[in-house]
Symmetry: C2
Subunit: 157 residues, 2 copies
């Protein structure tokens, strides 16, 4: 039982990296340009937030390579083989990414952001402000590999 | 320029609230049941995480009521009128919600969660583990209304 859910991109990533990379994403600035049906009204007040959450599709991920069961994160056999929904890699059903980045500027229907781990041309399906009230409630527990995989992910070289 | 992005639900919310409410969501437990094409492998290792991030569609939000420009959050005229992408309400383009909740149990292809602000029957398009490395980097700034709107949102009555 699976519903078809038809979305439309509300904008695209412009600039930044032209190919995916594993690390150093906080060094990258990019723009998000809203689709032509939107006006600057859609972003009114966003500049009062320091961070935004971007929902996008990993459109360059080959559909044939999507994993529906389990695999080693980044192919690293020294890390456990875990389910695709227990990791955040891009070869996942629906190819949806959700990332928090810093908001640098809002001008008209264009945002400038830093540290968005999505490449040039990526279709964006939603933009949400980061509110402290939506952060995890209570202590966070995660396995060792999840800390190891993030060691250099955002690092500015 | 807007791309069509066709997704399929990977599961559904079962149980919890049958209608949306503004507050007290942490008191709610619900299950997420994966669609029949998945096996327990897709969730392997997820139990090592305390929290999960659920990407879903607010399917009961009337499409005709979607706001593409700006409005007062919750219709509260004492709060500023802000763009739809500067708030997290459900009447948004694509009707996508992203929420972090506590993971209570994983059994086969069913998760039990607490504090998921999505109602019974909601189609789920992704499940991601909460990794500390994906939380916001740097100090978070937000306007006063964003703190006020969250005051009783998770509160257990």
């Amino acid at each position: 039982m699976s519903d078809l859910i038809a979305l439309h991109s509300i904008g695209h990533v412009v600039g930044g990296r032209v190919a995916a990379a594993d690390d150093d994403w906080d060094a990258v600035q990019a723009r998000i340009v809203l689709a032509s049906e939107f006006t600057a009204e859609a972003l009114a007040g966003l500049e009062d937030f320091s961070h935004v959450e971007i929902v996008f599709q990993f459109h360059r991920q080959d559909v044939a390579g999507i994993v529906a069961d389990a695999r080693h994160p980044r192919g690293r056999s020294d890390w456990p083989r875990v389910g695709i929904f227990a990791q955040r890699g891009k070869a996942r059903p629906n190819r949806i990414g959700v990332s928090v980045c810093r908001l640098i500027a809002v001008e008209g229907t264009t945002l400038t952001v830093a540290g968005l781990d999505a490449i040039d041309g990526t279709p964006v399906v939603d933009i949400k402000p980061v509110m402290t009230g939506f952060l995890p409630r209570g202590a966070i527990r995660e396995p060792d590999w999840a800390r190891a995989i993030m060691t250099r992910y955002w690092e500015v070289p």
